[in-house]
Amino acid sequence: MPAETIAPSGGRPALREPLWLRLSLIGGALTFLAVFLLLPLILVFVQALGHGVEAYWDALVEQDAVSAIQLTVLVAAIAVPLNLVFGVAASWCIAKFEFRGKSLLITLIDLPFSVSPVISGMVYVLLFGLNGWLGPWLIDHNIKIIFALPGLVLATVFVTFPFVARELIPLMQEQGTEEEEAAVVLGASGWQVFRRVTLPNIKWGLLYGVLLCNARAMGEFGAVSVVSGHIRGMTNTMPLHVEILYNEYNFVAAFAVASLLALLALVTLVVKSLLEWRYGDELAASARH
């Protein structure tokens, strides 16, 4: 058995490819990552800071940019907690109980992943638009849904719906129901079981799902674009504002706002890594149960 290969005890060598092949594969993968992930990211910041820090800052405190940032945060602040509740409820239901139509429910939860975001926006226009099913009633009662905040929230909730649930379902299924059954035998109520047994087991998975959900909620373009109406300073979220600025030849400002979105992605990544580093044991432990 060659000395440099790592072999499971008694099995065949796990790696017996020649060194040059391994190096070129690793090199290829790293180059690919650098060119297609790292370079664009750096380019965003280079472009944003191309005219100095002052121009960068001016672009971010400009009135329309500020309202785009506020709107994006507001939409995420509504959509993410909603999806947290939906996601936990749905995965609790699916992982801990047996019922008819379960696979249908799972399919429905996955639906937003398979549907193009543009379609997700379009269905709300068809439903709540002036010529939609509910449009005439809404206008009579002076309720605005699409081309206003509620439409943006709805579209975002729809698109980000699977993130929390998809993170939790496998985790909860793997954990099984023994602990909950034990709690019930000991006389715990349903709420107590959830709060004292299930939630502690899933908390890091949940946080992870929320992080991903938030990143997507703030970055979503397609669905939001359809229901936004693109009114500057009013219904433009950050991604839409980036497009508008770019289309107005205002490249520094476009990349300045884009850099905020890139920062958001980086923060998400760092927090996720921190979680895994700090609570890795617990994550692994909860997964083993």
Partner: protein
């Protein structure tokens, strides 16, 4: 212990999110006394930024309330669609009459809208020109050069973009002139041109960015104002304008959306907003943003800016927008017959 933290943390986050939400709502810029929404097409962004400021000042001197005008821009057809779907536009300033007709058909604008303001409700005009790279390396002089093999033509999608429809009809008008109204020949000519189109963006600005920033194509079919603007933004050392021997007089119209202004009670200020476009100040702003002013005095002042072009109108040569739209751009129309991507 950690769970306790999480629980408190979770509660905290929810509360913070709620508080943040409320805070943001209240910290939104204080609403002006009156707010108008101008839903417009792609290239007018810069024009209306300047015009809105001027109008707000003018309206104050007339004893009106403080007025804030919001803008929304996109492909003309798409914008009309949004208004039809309930985007609360007080005013529409679109690329062509047909798109406002489409809104009028659904009853949101009175059918007689085009007669309510002078000059077919088009306070400014433009035309279709070619934008080529500096030095015109492919030697593009006229429409015939667009049909030559090896020339890449950039134009937006006529289904969604008003500018693209003007582009298309300008080429059609030229072809009819050249072959004495032989439509079969004209169709063949347009087919040749669209074979040279590698990508159709949804709006005029998207196409301009494709041509100028992404560096795609040899010639951009463009609104004259859009061509001037990109030269202004990107420098005369990179691009130049070619005016073909015959092109179209584009009349982008404006209208008040009756249903919306009556519901919001903004009719008076919305009508004043459109009328002010015809004033000397309004015409001057249009000219400065490279739209051809209607007012002869202002037009004379900007004579050296705009090339004298040989122009035809859609009414005299193509029987008006309704007819042209139906014949060329409806489903299965001539555009659908000639444009088959991948062939």
């Amino acid at each position: 212990m950690v769970f306790g933290l999480l629980r408190r943390g979770f509660l905290g986050v929810t509360l913070a999110a709620g508080a943040l939400g409320c805070g943001l709502l209240t910290s939104m810029p204080a609403a002006a006394d009156t707010t108008l929404l101008n839903v417009s097409y792609d290239p007018t962004r810069e024009l209306y930024v300047e015009y809105n400021k001027a109008f707000a000042e003018y309206w104050k001197t007339q004893g009106g309330d403080a007025v804030r005008i919001n803008q929304s821009h996109g492909g003309s057809g798409k914008q009309a669609r949004s208004v039809i779907d309930g985007l609360d536009a007080d005013i529409v300033t679109l690329a062509l009459a047909y798109d406002i007709d489409a809104i009028a058909e659904r009853g949101q604008i009175n059918k007689d809208w085009q007669a309510r303001l002078p000059q077919n409700s088009s306070p400014y005009t433009s035309t279709i020109v070619f934008l080529v790279r500096k030095g015109n390396p492919k030697g593009i002089k006229n429409w015939d050069d667009l049909a030559k093999p090896g020339v890449q033509v950039i134009t937006p999608n006529p289904k969604t973009s008003g500018g693209a429809r003007w582009n298309y009809l300008a080429a059609w008008g030229y072809a009819l002139e050249k072959w004495n109204n032989d439509e079969a020949k004209a169709k063949e000519f347009l087919e040749q041109i669209f074979k040279n189109v590698p990508v159709l963006d949804t709006g005029a600005r998207g196409s301009t960015i494709t041509f100028t920033e992404r560096g795609l194509g040899d010639v951009l079919l463009s609104w004259e104002n859009e061509a001037f603007l990109s030269i202004k933004e990107l420098g005369a050392d990179k691009l130049e304008i070619v005016v073909p021997s015959l092109t179209i007089l584009a009349e982008p119209p404006v209208a008040v959306v009756d249903k919306v202004v009556d519901r919001k009670g903004t009719r008076k200020v919305a009508e004043a907003y459109l009328n002010y476009l015809y004033s000397d100040a309004g015409q001057e702003i249009a000219a400065k943003n490279f739209y051809r002013p209607r007012n002869p005095a202002i037009a004379a002042k900007y004579e050296n800016v705009f090339t004298k072009a040989n122009l035809f109108t859609i009414d005299e040569r193509l029987g008006g927008w309704q007819a042209a739209q139906k014949k060329h751009f409806s489903d299965g129309g001539i555009f659908d017959q000639i444009y088959q991507p991948g062939k």
